[in-house]
Symmetry: C2
Subunit: 333 residues, 2 copies
């Protein structure tokens, strides 16, 4: 059955990818509507679904839509939730506003599609870093049982939206011209630098971005006994996040067994041929639906119960827009 879809935040980096994903996945769109902030209203966007005029947000839009894909800040999601749900429009929300509510499912369709059906009007889309790690971690969890997960990230500037990417490019240009650099989006210079700080610091010394990986992975896997820690670092790349991951498993694990499991896993592409210099990299993962997994090897600390690997995934796609559209797909029929 065709669906009326509305994208809220349609002009942002993720919103634009949502249009692209609806088309690429051949989503049965009846009517697509695009909502954005005041300054964009009235503009037209050319899409595979025709030329669409940007509308302001209104209750009426939700009344006339089956599914709303929200990609705006938490405040706006919180503000509009009631009016979306009351109008029988399913809200798939990319913000962190509802992710930790017990009654709101947090869904990665390759992992926990069944929980989507338990929604009370809202389904949350996970944090990008979590989603990228989770598609590789879950098949290993099912087969070998995860005990410990230690993550260090290499996150692209577009994780902070199109303006983050632009700041990197501006600073790079300034650096090359020996001009002074200005930082508006990031706390410090990001060109030719890194910043081990994404989102707000929490009382335990971790950032919220780092804790999202812990909380969300446990919730999506339905197992809060898995011990997880994360260090999140912004690096001067444009798009696609990478993560260095060490795991300890309950059952013995080998790189060969892990590769064999991952090769059969949806959403994952094993790129692991070191002798030919093939391993996950942001430039190759960019604009791809699958998360690249490679550098798979027996971890030296946890021995035959340990594995170490590296992933790169497009955080605007599997980390955001693609996953949201895949959640919507669970409601076609």
């Amino acid at each position: 059955m065709k669906k009326n879809i509305v994208i809220v935040g349609a002009t942002g980096a993720v919103g634009r990818e949502m249009v692209h994903c609806l088309h690429e996945l051949k989503f049965p769109v009846d009517r697509l509507r695009l909502v954005a902030s005041e300054r964009s209203v009235g503009g037209r966007i050319e899409t595979p679904f025709g030329s669409i005029t940007i509308e302001p947000i209104s209750e009426n839009v939700f009344k006339e839509s089956d599914i709303a894909l929200f990609s705006v800040g938490s405040e706006l999601s919180l503000e509009w939730r009631e009016r979306v749900v009351q109008n029988n429009c399913l809200m798939i929300d990319n913000s962190s506003a509802f992710r930790y509510e017990n009654e709101t499912p947090l869904v990665i369709p390759e992992i926990n599609p069944e929980t989507a059906k338990t929604h009370h009007g809202v389904i949350s889309n996970p944090n990008c870093t979590t989603a990228i790690a989770a598609v590789a971690l879950y098949p290993l969890h099912r087969e070998f049982g995860l005990k410990k997960v230690i993550v260090s990230t290499y996150q692209a500037t577009s994780g902070a939206g199109a303006k983050g990417m632009q700041e990197l490019l501006n600073q790079t240009q300034d650096y090359m011209n020996e001009a002074p650099m200005a930082s508006h989006v990031f706390a410090h210079q990001i060109a030719f630098n890194l910043i081990p700080h994404i989102d707000a610091f929490q009382e335990n010394g971790y950032t919220k971005e780092e804790m999202k990986v812990v909380w969300e992975t446990q919730k999506i896997f339905g197992d809060d006994t898995i011990q997880i820690s994360c260090t999140s670092v912004r690096i001067p790349t444009l798009r696609a996040h990478s993560e260095s991951i060490v795991i300890e498993t309950k059952n013995p694990i080998t790189p060969e067994a892990a590769r064999s499991v991952l090769r059969k896993s949806p959403g994952v592409k094993v790129v692991d041929d070191p002798s030919n210099n093939r391993y996950p990299m942001p430039i190759n993962a960019t604009q791809k639906f699958e998360v690249e997994v490679g550098r798979i090897r027996q971890n030296l600390v946890f021995g035959d119960h340990g594995l170490e690997f590296f992933v790169s995934g497009d955080q605007l796609l599997k980390g955001a827009a693609l996953n949201a559209v895949q959640i919507a797909e669970l409601f076609i029929n």
Copy 2:
């Protein structure tokens, strides 16, 4: 007593820093000689020790020197070792050629200065990534006892010498001009990308760069029971390596106790004030003698026996030139 010093590889990125470090540390230099490859011979370099003409390598140079600081490839170090040692010139070598020999001390002066005296003519300088991590890890090891160390690195292009840095700048300029990029130094594009591959792959799936961190840390700490693993990643920065480090300790550890130990440790600067956005970053660690340590927090996986932190250090200084000159300082008297 003043010493006659010769720097072999004087025109390289590390060699140039060696001159700078000798001056900054007020090393009692009697005569400084600079040796480089044929194409540089005859050129003059202005130094704080006067204007010095670059010489070709020769046995005579070593006959007339007390200490030779080698910063060239392993092959040249291997080729000249005998002739340096036989002429009673102490060889302090920055290559990996002799690091794993039982009879050759591998020295970080803050950690194992006593082993330097056991040399048989050669002392090895550790790998840059190892040295930067080790100055922070060793005080924690002494106080709390290291059981497990899990490292992910963020390494600058100058780790591959001045030509690595130049390749990043060239590719960046080409990218900004929408011109095609060429890769000569690195296996892939490094501008706006990362490469999880430094040095040659070993049979166990780790690179040699990653295994150096394991082998060298165990040797320098004199404890091969510490379990260590590493993922080494090249990122598009110019100078100073960073590392995300998780440790499990034998004794309970807290962030406050760790900070207190690190604040008293030579070679370390605690930069750990998240509420004011202060943490280690390459742009701040560049051209500094001390390794910055911050983001210190209780690790969520190892609990009260676990710590997680982030370091940035100038790999041309503590990771190479500075450490070599500090080794030489052990022989002033």
